[in-house]
Symmetry: C2
Subunit: 314 residues, 2 copies
């Protein structure tokens, strides 16, 4: 499997920490120290999960080495749906008139990106797909509460798209060497750690500590396991893109994986937690930075819980 290109979309409206200082009394320094966030993007009133997904895909069109209508599988990923029936994947199919695609939207919260790629892997194995589009979009601000001093300031809006082909499409492709996902509903606070209940107050994080501990633990173990399985050692990682939930979790992960300087890719300072789009945005923002034969590892942890890792080679 090869990633042909990655793209993203971040809304133009920026919300700085000072907004939350005025609203709930949290200072810029307090928020930054505990989360690594200085600002996050907020979708405009005429934007939603589906429009942002379309924008992210649109951003890739010019770089794509084949017509988008060649796509035969669209996997959408979000836990902040605009419409659970007319999903982001269906909206992308409709907007770009991708007539021959199978279409599905999924959620395993912030880890959905890797679950989506694993679904693609399955469709490639059955030969039901050869060219897939994974598109994620999170409209966190549609469900979060700015007045929630516990977690209201952590979330940002954004979307990512990656095009995956069974066969190599160009020398610029990134090869997917391996990937894994793990269901962790039975671990710790599991289904209660983070929740988004549309009829019960939206997006909340009642057990931040439990999320912190398990996110750090499982993002580390996912990376160690996938490296071991592929007979690689930690020092072979050129770039690590962990899920961007919290800079302190990321610091734990970096320490646990004995990262030296420079491997860590982060965007949380300017984006907040963009959910399952976060690592896709990170991949897209740094696409030009990856050099031939470099190893890139993506590791994720999601509410619910779930975790996963993906090993890539440029």
């Amino acid at each position: 499997m090869y990633i042909s290109t990655a793209s993203h979309y971040i809304p133009v409206t920026t919300v700085f920490n000072e907004y939350y200082t005025r609203l709930v009394g949290l200072s810029d320094e307090w928020i930054f120290k505990r989360s690594g966030i200085r600002s996050r993007a907020k979708a405009n009133t005429d934007e939603n999960t589906n429009t942002m997904a379309i924008e992210a895909v649109q951003a890739a069109i010019d770089r794509l080495s084949y017509p988008i209508t060649d796509v035969d599988l669209i996997v959408g990923a979000t836990y902040t749906p605009y419409d659970t029936v007319g999903t982001l994947a269906h909206a992308v199919q409709r907007f770009f008139d991708i007539a021959k695609a199978r279409v599905i939207s999924i959620s395993s919260a912030c880890s959905s990106f890797l679950n989506a790629v694993e679904i693609v892997e399955g469709y490639f194995a059955t030969n039901k797909s050869k060219r897939a589009l994974v598109v994620s979009s999170e409209h966190n601000t549609a469900y979060s509460d700015d007045m929630d001093a516990q977690s209201g300031h952590l979330w940002g809006d954004g979307a990512g798209a990656i095009f995956i082909s069974k066969e190599k499409t160009s020398d610029d492709d990134i090869k997917i060497l391996d990937l894994n996902t793990t269901g962790l509903g039975h671990i710790g606070k599991g289904t209660e750690g983070v929740c988004l209940r549309p009829n019960e107050g939206g997006l909340k994080m009642p057990f931040g500590k439990d999320v912190f501990v398990n996110a750090s633990k499982y993002m580390i173990s996912e990376v160690k396991n996938i490296l071991k399985k592929n007979h690689l050692t930690l020092d072979k990682i050129n770039h690590l893109i962990p899920h961007q939930a919290n800079s302190r979790i990321i610091a734990q992960v970096a320490e646990g994986l004995e990262l030296r300087n420079g491997e860590l890719i982060m965007n949380i300072e300017d984006t907040g937690n963009t959910g399952c789009a976060s690592t896709m945005i990170g991949l897209s923002q740094n696409w030009e930075r990856f050099k031939k034969d470099e190893l890139i590892v993506i590791t994720v942890f999601g509410g619910g819980y779930s975790s996963g890792a993906m090993l890539l080679r440029k």
Copy 2:
């Protein structure tokens, strides 16, 4: 692939058409004539998508020929989520402590069941799973509006579970001979035909006529295509389980497929439209009815749009 067992859960509270007569003036006869529905189930206030999913799985435990902890993949399906982060699949993993399962929840609205099975097919192909659980649950009444005279009376609550193994587990298994899904976001009213926007009024069906026409058309063509691909003719179908959205759509499908008497499996009269659980509930309710070597065809259509068909042999 083999279905080891199927089970379901329907809440005990029954809502008869007379409720809507009092509320919005629609008579029992009017509703029945246009939809085939006499009553539907409504979840109690302490129930939700996740609890119903657990109930459906629980109903299968005694019949399952292997420990439920052998399950290594849980695919949840719903467009009426209780929690988009702690999803129904995660809730099932947690309740039954299914520690080694990969976990994902999906939506392609009323056609999600077949998308879920297609995802399982992919995991079997990559050898990442051997024993999967597909669990659907729809809490339509959490999102529908009883005062909506257009579609408020059409929806019911319910859940279904099926256990799928790569290898045969018992002589009672039903073999999955083939399945297909189709993304139809680009067709007709597509993403607008039916919608569930949690922040914009919930579940609605603004374009019922367009849904009717395309549901009839694509449920027929999905069946014809899968039979043709497997060198079978329409007269070989012993049982047809179409998605239970509307008895008039089902009548169109039966006519288009030249069904004689007795092949058609329906439950809409007593359940209403239970979304992606409807054909799973139909499969479960009629499990004992299927005789050795009989052919069963499931055909679905979902808002968004999507369609699919699955060919089974007892």
